[in-house]
Subunit: 302 residues, 4 copies
C-alpha cells in the first residue's frame, strides 16, 4: 500500500471583476465574482514541492481581468468559456479547467421618468450564476455549461397546502389546507447544446417561468411546485437538458393568538430561520445526454 | 465610592413579525424585524435579582405579534408608536420604551402582465427602518420618531472626481477626474413633527430623491453627494428636521492592464471589500428643534 | 421525449440540537447542527402532489431531538448512524438517508484553577463535521461515514516559500522565499471501516496531526503542506481510506513601506479577503476501497 | 431657516493590519482591524465640493500601516492613541479623531508539547476592541480610551432561574428554577485614567473575571449576572470608571419530548437564533468622572 495524491485542483476564487462598457454615453455594467480552477498534472507540486507545472493563481487573477477587457462579457457563460479554454493553452500541464461565475444585477436609476445613462441601483433580488468546465484540447475538447440563479426569494400567502403525508410515532405536524409557502430558490440548468443560444434572454425567461409557476400553480407541496417549474422551463427551452433545484422551505408559523382570545386566520406569522425544510429535485428529459463532468465539483470540492 | 447600576435597558430583539392582510383577495404583506427595549426602575433586577418589576421579554414578543393583528401595520412608524406607548401602560415600572423596526419589501410577481394577488418576490434593494422612543405618561408623554433606509447600494460610472485634497508625507493617492463612485447608503431622518404625515409616501419620496441626487449630481466627493441628497430631502419635506447619512465608499480600483500592454480607460475594475472609506454626515435645518432622546441608543447600547 | 423527475431528496436542515448529560454533577455538552435528507420513491409527491410517501420534515426534526435523548451523542458519527438507519425503518418509501452534522466545541470555564462543572465558553477555533449515508435494509444495508473539520484557521510567519512556477504573458507575481502562509482549513476523511473506532479520539488526533504538519513542515506551496498533512493522517490511522482538503490561501501582502523610506522586512502585512487562492486536494491510499455514495451530495445538491 | 451641515466625520474603515515582530526567532503577532475617523472643519468638502481640508482616507490607510511598523503595537490601546494624536498633527483642519480597533487572538500551535515559534492557530473565542478619541492640541488635548471585548460566548447548564416577574394579559412564559443560560457577551470599559496601565494584562483579567462571575454566580436573571461581573471588574481595577454590557439571551428551549412519552429533564434543548432577549447595562462608580466624548459615535454614527 502507498499513500498517493488523488483528485486535486487549484485556482483563484472570488475575483471581483467589474466591467463597464463605455462605447456610447449609455454605459453598460457587468458585475461579477469569478473563480477559476485548474486540474492536471500537479503531482510534483504536492509531493516534492516543485512548482514548475503550476501557473500561479495570481496569473489566473490577472487573466480574469484581462479577458473582461479583451473578450468582454456579452454573457457570463461566454466569458467563462473563453477563460476556461484559454487556461488550457496557457498552462500545458493542465488537462481541465472550471470557471465559476456569480453576477450581480444592477438597474438603471430612473430620474424624471428616464433611465439614467451611467447610474445604477443594485437589484438585489437574485444572483445569476454560471459554471463552465472545459476538458482536453483541439478536436477532443469538450465543454460543459451550467447556468443558474441563486437566492430568488418568493412567498405566497395562499394557494398552498400540505396534507395526506406519511405518519409515524414522532409525527406531530398538523395538516393544513392554507399556509404561507416561501423559499429562496437556487436553480441550475444544464445545456445539452449551446449552439446559437442567447444566454441572457434565456436567463430572463427561466426566471420569469419559475416566478410565474410559483405564483400560478396551486401547490400540494414545495416538491410539486419545483416539478412544475422544471416542466415549464424544459418545455420552453429545448436546448436545456435538465434543471436542478434546491429550495429551503422557509417556515412561516401561525402565531398562537388564541391564547389571548384572538383569532388568527393565517394573518400573523413568525418567520423562522432554522431549522428549515430543504427540498431538492432534478427535472430532466428522459433522453438527456450524459452529464459528463458538468456537475463535477460545481459547488465545492470537499 | 460605591459601585452602582448606571443606564440600562432590556427587551426582545429581532421578532420576525409577518402580517398578511386578507381583507380582499388582493392580499397585502408587511414583513418586519421588530426589537423592543424598556428603560425604567430595574435596579433590584440587577442587584438583588428580584424580578418583580420586569415584564418578561417573552411578553414583549407576544405583544409584538398581537399588535400586528389588533393595531395592524399601516406603516412601521405607526405600529412602533402604538407598541411603544402600550408598554408604558403594561409595565408601570418602565419610564421609557424604544421600538426598532426593519422592514423588508416585497414586489408582486407579474404573471402575463398582471400583478399577482398573493404571490411576491423579495425586492432586495434596501431595508426600511424606524426607531420610535416614548418617554413619560399622559400629558407629559413625549414621542420621537426616526425613519430610515439601509443598504441602498448605488454606483455611477461617470460624473465623479476626487482632487485638490490635503497631502502629507503618507499621501500616495493619485488625483482623478473620472472614477467609479459606489456606496451602500444608510440614512435616518428625524421628524420634528409627525402631524398628518404619510410615512409610506414620504419613504418612497426620500428614497427617490436620494437616488435622483446620486444620479444627477456631478460629485466632487462622496461628502458633496450626501449634502446634496440631504438638501433635496429637507427642501421637499418640511416636517423632517434633519437627516443623517453613513456611506461606505466602496472602492472600485482600475485594474492595471498597462503591464500587459493594454489600455484601461476606466473600463475594468476590481471591486474591493475592505478597507473602505466611511463618510458620515448630518444635514439639518439651522432652526431644528432639539433632538432630545431621538438618537439615544438608536443603533446600539454599548 | 418526456420530462421526468430525476434525482431528488428532501429533509430538515439545521436542527440546532443541544444535548446536556447530567448523569453526574459534572455535566457534559454536545452542541450540534443536524441536517437530514431522505432519498426514495417520491415521484408522486412531485408530479401529482400526493404526499402519501412523504414522512414530513417536521417529523425528521422531532426525531433528531428524540434521538439525542434516547440514543445520546457519544460521537456525532454514532448519533448520525443511528438516525440514518432509523429513517429507513420509519419511512418505507425511503431507500437512502443522509445525515449531516456540525458540532461546536465548548471548553469548561476555569475558576481558581479548576474546570467548572456546568459552565462553558465556546471554543471557536474550528467546527467538527460528519456525513453519514445509509442505503438499503437488512443484510444489504451499506453505511458510509465521513468525518471532518471546518474553519481551522492557521498562519505561519516563516518557513514558507513560493517560487519556480510556470510563467506566461500575464504572470507578474514575484517569487518569494519567505512569506506569511495562512489558511482556513476544511478537511473530510472517509472511513474504509469503522469497526472499533473511537471517533472522538481520532478527531483530536487528526486535528493535532494537521496542526503539527502545518507548523513543522517547510512549505514550498500550500499544495505541499496539504500533502504532508494527508500523509501523516493516513499513516497514523489505518481505517481512514482517504482525506480531502479545501484550503483558501488567505493572502497577507507585504505593505509597501518603501514609498515612505521605510524597510518592511516581512513585518507589516495587509490581510486580504478576496480574491484568495483555493487549493484542493485528496490524499488517498492507492488500494482504497471504492467511495461508493460516501461523497454523493455530501456538500450540497445543486 | 437655512439647510446646513451638522455633525460629520470621515475616515478609512476596516484596515486589516497584521504586524509580526521578528526581533527574535520567537515571532509575535498582532492581527487587527483598524478604523479611523476625523472630525473638523470639513464644511466646504460637503457644500462646494472643495477638498482642500480633506486628508484622504487613503492616506489614513497608509498611516495605519506605517504606524504598525514605526510605533509598533504593544497594545491596541497604545497604538490607537499614537495614531489618533498623529492625525491631529497631519491634518490641521481636523479637531478630533477617533480610532476603533478590533484584535483577533492567535494561540501558538503546540508540537510535541512545545509552543511553536512562528505558527499559530486562531483562537476564535472572542474579539478584543479599543476605541480612542482625541480632541484638541497641545495642553488642551484630551484623550478618552475605551477597551472591550465582543462575542465571548458562554453557557451554563445549571445555576440559573427566572421567576417572580411582572405579568400582564400577554404573559404566557412559565417560571423556571433551572434553565440553560447562554449569551454572547459584549463589554466595553472606560478608563478614568490610563497612567501606568498594562492594557494587555487588564484585558486578560477582565475577561477572566467575567468568565468566573458567569460560572460561579447563581443567576436570578441575566441582569443579575451582568451586575456581578461589573462589580468584580470595578473592584479589581481602580482605574476603570465604568463598564457597559450588551448580552443577548440566547434562548435554549426544552424540546417537548413529553408528546412522545419521554421525560426531558433539562437535557435536550433547541437553540434558537431569533428572537433573543437583549439585556444591556452599565455598572459604574458613583463618583466616576464625566464620560466626555468617550462613547460619542463609538459604535456607529447613524
Amino acid at each position: 500500500m502507498a499513500i498517493v495524491l488523488g483528485t486535486n485542483r487549484y485556482g483563484k476564487s472570488e475575483n471581483r471583476v467589474v466591467r463597464i462598457n463605455k462605447d456610447t454615453d449609455r454605459h453598460e455594467i457587468r458585475d461579477m465574482n469569478v473563480s477559476t480552477s485548474l486540474y492536471g498534472d500537479f503531482e510534483e507540486a504536492h509531493t516534492s514541492g516543485d512548482q514548475a507545472n503550476i501557473l500561479p493563481t495570481d496569473t489566473q487573477k490577472n487573466t480574469s481581468f484581462v479577458f473582461a477587457k479583451t473578450v468582454g462579457v456579452s454573457s457570463i457563460e461566454e466569458y467563462a468559456q473563453a477563460l476556461g479554454k484559454h487556461f488550457l493553452e496557457a498552462a500545458p500541464p493542465a488537462t481541465r479547467s472550471q470557471i465559476r461565475v456569480q453576477e450581480y444585477a444592477w438597474d438603471r436609476i430612473v430620474v424624471d421618468g428616464q433611465e439614467h445613462d451611467h447610474s445604477w441601483v443594485r437589484r438585489g433580488t437574485e444572483t445569476r450564476t454560471a459554471v463552465v468546465t472545459v476538458e482536453g484540447r483541439g478536436d477532443d475538447q469538450q465543454v460543459w455549461v451550467l447556468s443558474g440563479l441563486e437566492d430568488l426569494t418568493v412567498l405566497k400567502s395562499s394557494g398552498s397546502e400540505f396534507q395526506g403525508y406519511l405518519k409515524d410515532q414522532y409525527t406531530t405536524l398538523k395538516e393544513t389546507t392554507d399556509r404561507v409557502m416561501a423559499t429562496s430558490l437556487t436553480a441550475r440548468w444544464r445545456w445539452s447544446d449551446t449552439e446559437g443560444v442567447d444566454f441572457n434572454a434565456v436567463y430572463d425567461s427561466v426566471k420569469a417561468l419559475c416566478l410565474a409557476a410559483f405564483a400560478r400553480h396551486y401547490s400540494k407541496a414545495l416538491q410539486n411546485t419545483l416539478f412544475v417549474m422544471g416542466q415549464d422551463v424544459l418545455e420552453a427551452h429545448p436546448q436545456i437538458a435538465e434543471i436542478r433545484f434546491s429550495a429551503p422551505n422557509k417556515h412561516h408559523f401561525d402565531y398562537d393568538l388564541g391564547q389571548f382570545g384572538l383569532e388568527n386566520n393565517n394573518e400573523v406569522f413568525i418567520a423562522a430561520d432554522r431549522p428549515y425544510g430543504l427540498i431538492e429535485a432534478t427535472v430532466t428529459r428522459d433522453d438527456a445526454a450524459e452529464a459528463g463532468l458538468a456537475w463535477q465539483d460545481a459547488r465545492s470540492f470537499v
